[in-house]
Symmetry: C2
Subunit: 456 residues, 2 copies
Amino acid sequence: MSTSAGRAEDFLASALTTISGQTEDPDLFLKQRFTASSYQVDEIPLDTLGAWRLGDRLEHNTGRFFTIEGLSVRTSFGPNPQWCQPIIVQPDIGILGILVKKIDGVHHFLMQVKMEPGNSTLVQYAATVQATQSNYQRVHGGRPTPYLEYFLKGSRGHILVDRLLSEHASWYLHKRNRNMIVEIPPDEDVEERDDFAWLTLGQLRRQLALGNVNMNARTVLACVSYDGARAPQAVTGFHAQTVASHNAQRSDAHLAEAMTWLIDQKETYTLDVKRIGLSEMDGWAADDGSIRHRDGLYFRIIGLSVAATSREVGTWSQPMLEPVPGNLVAFLCQRQNGVLRFLTQAMIQPGSTDRLELGASIQLAPGYCRDARDLPPLVEYLDSAVGKVRMKSLQSEDGGRFHRADTEHLVIELPEDHHVEAPENYRWMTLGLLGRLMQSGYYLNVEARSLMACLL
Amino acid sequence: MSTSAGRAEDFLASALTTISGQTEDPDLFLKQRFTASSYQVDEIPLDTLGAWRLGDRLEHNTGRFFTIEGLSVRTSFGPNPQWCQPIIVQPDIGILGILVKKIDGVHHFLMQVKMEPGNSTLVQYAATVQATQSNYQRVHGGRPTPYLEYFLKGSRGHILVDRLLSEHASWYLHKRNRNMIVEIPPDEDVEERDDFAWLTLGQLRRQLALGNVNMNARTVLACVSYDGARAPQAVTGFHAQTVASHNAQRSDAHLAEAMTWLIDQKETYTLDVKRIGLSEMDGWAADDGSIRHRDGLYFRIIGLSVAATSREVGTWSQPMLEPVPGNLVAFLCQRQNGVLRFLTQAMIQPGSTDRLELGASIQLAPGYCRDARDLPPLVEYLDSAVGKVRMKSLQSEDGGRFHRADTEHLVIELPEDHHVEAPENYRWMTLGLLGRLMQSGYYLNVEARSLMACLL
């Protein structure tokens, strides 16, 4: 053991870090980092956000970061053919990057303990780098982003994963981030920093189960074990049995069939979205310091004032999207002819870059249901005794944009002899096939990818 | 020889068709089909289009087909950071499908002689099926689309190619079509029809060189020989030498490197587009029966009245986009260490689904150049004696939407010892790599794909 930082407040944390920087007790490290900083988060009216201006859209006075605008949506998908909603517009491409290094022959992931104002638990393990362009170009005049150089053109390490993947398409318009895993050689020294620790995949798995890994890290981790080509192989446990039996079937033919089916779905459903002014949104009001639907549907846009010592800047205020609580995402899986398959659905979401992506079997957002008739198909499996719960955890969405957005994650395994009656836009797929689709573009939505990360 | 149709006017054409339906003289077949029908195309004012209404947008009174709307564009790419322009919005996914069958052991492609009102030459070889959803769902109450069943879910043949690919992103907003090649067994009979003929790839090549193959067929044909996995191998001549030497290099690593480079480019350039009303477009007027830029830039939106006997409906009128003439698209290619590579550029176009796609080395649109300072990089190669012209032909854009939109297609081979000074968003790629990118999503723009079809 060695102490890597001099400050007294860091003593306990760094005492838990070995010479190589590995962390023996990630639970404790998280707690220590939490207590080493102080946080204060309060809801405030949108018109008191200082640098943010609420007009026909909500925008920062630099014109950077993101805007919140109105969106008019028409679609033939789902129970509601037409609606208006606010949407976050953030066209720049952020970097979500995890640095990987073999320590004593075992892959370790450099994780950052990060405070996000929207999280219910406040601090979580995040990717090594989680930065918007505004962020790392330091528009806010804050501190430089640590370890960023490992992910930038010209100075980056050996790329294991590098993909543009979508973000929440119900809340963001056409948003995607760059998901990267970069490996450096075992003998390359990496500067040690407070708030950062090297975790093994086993340790990460435990933190995932505890809900201690943030959304941005989960979407990167979802790329780990399903990418045969570039990523470190790290497949054990529940997942191993599926991969082993499926490796042989990961053929181009299956991929091509899935693509054809996906194009069929894109042909079947329509989506037409148009950015409009916030004041043009039918059914919405902005008269109490927040932007809210008159029937309490969807979500609210609220203001938050944040004081923290562990972020790039110490205090700030910003808008946040606060969904109606109770979101849930669930995979139904089933062994079919000896092969474990997951039920996916082609799902239109208003902010999708390419109309639709694959979602989990059940994606339940109470804010989007006016009454029981709006419930999505297959919700009956949530209360049914027919399946066996293989995974259950509460995970938070990106606490940098979403306030108290916790989503229950569930994987339910159905008995082999059970027949699921699903609509035409549903299809059983192996994890191997889902992994290949994830490599190819915008094919798996972030909710499904988050579930896949939890299956690591 | 046998006569397949009874009508006298078809005699000459069908006399050229063998028992199997192959055509011995595609040039003559085209001419015969042209004279067998009569066409009358006239420009008329937009406000006399009958079923079309010119208001804040230009739309059909059924709400179908397409609309023409205003688009406000901001981008860090190119000389012009901000402009407004009309754009065609057509969210449905059309089918561009070619039926293939082995006749006497040789692949034949079922091509349709099609009249398109915008074409300079009026009739051309089109894909077997070229149909928008409005089209084949018969919104206009016209005749059913022949051979459509071979491309529809449930009744389709063996799929060789099935991809969503982008259309002109300068003129269409987020438009993509389904490009399909479907093969039926040699012993399966296909109904013979006027206006259709089975062409070999050799015959198609000649028609391509003559500019007799329409844009929609070219984008399908671009998928033929570069897709090792599913398409019939049909690689000879100029192309063969490149493919042969490159097969060994079509590795996943090269694809991954290209993807990383493309993501770098997407990160570098910004694009923000917003649909606005036609009357909100700065610099545009609609006071002479057309919508035009006050300085004559970009293109005009005009009305056309069309009378023809060979389309689904005999007479109609519709809006058309007429570009400033003189468009050109050119590939520079060069043998580098024994390998033929093509210079591509990451290119932002306002209607791109995912911000940018790869374009050809030079894509020159005089309508987008206010003066010489707006000329794209590398145009000096068009007048230079340094390279050798390997391919040159005049090709038309989709004559169903674009009026007299002819684009010169050029491939210039540079000597091995010549160094091209190109900006950072340019990259040399083999045809094999371009083919793999074309398989993976929206990575090659339609202009570059059209050039690739001409390299067949």
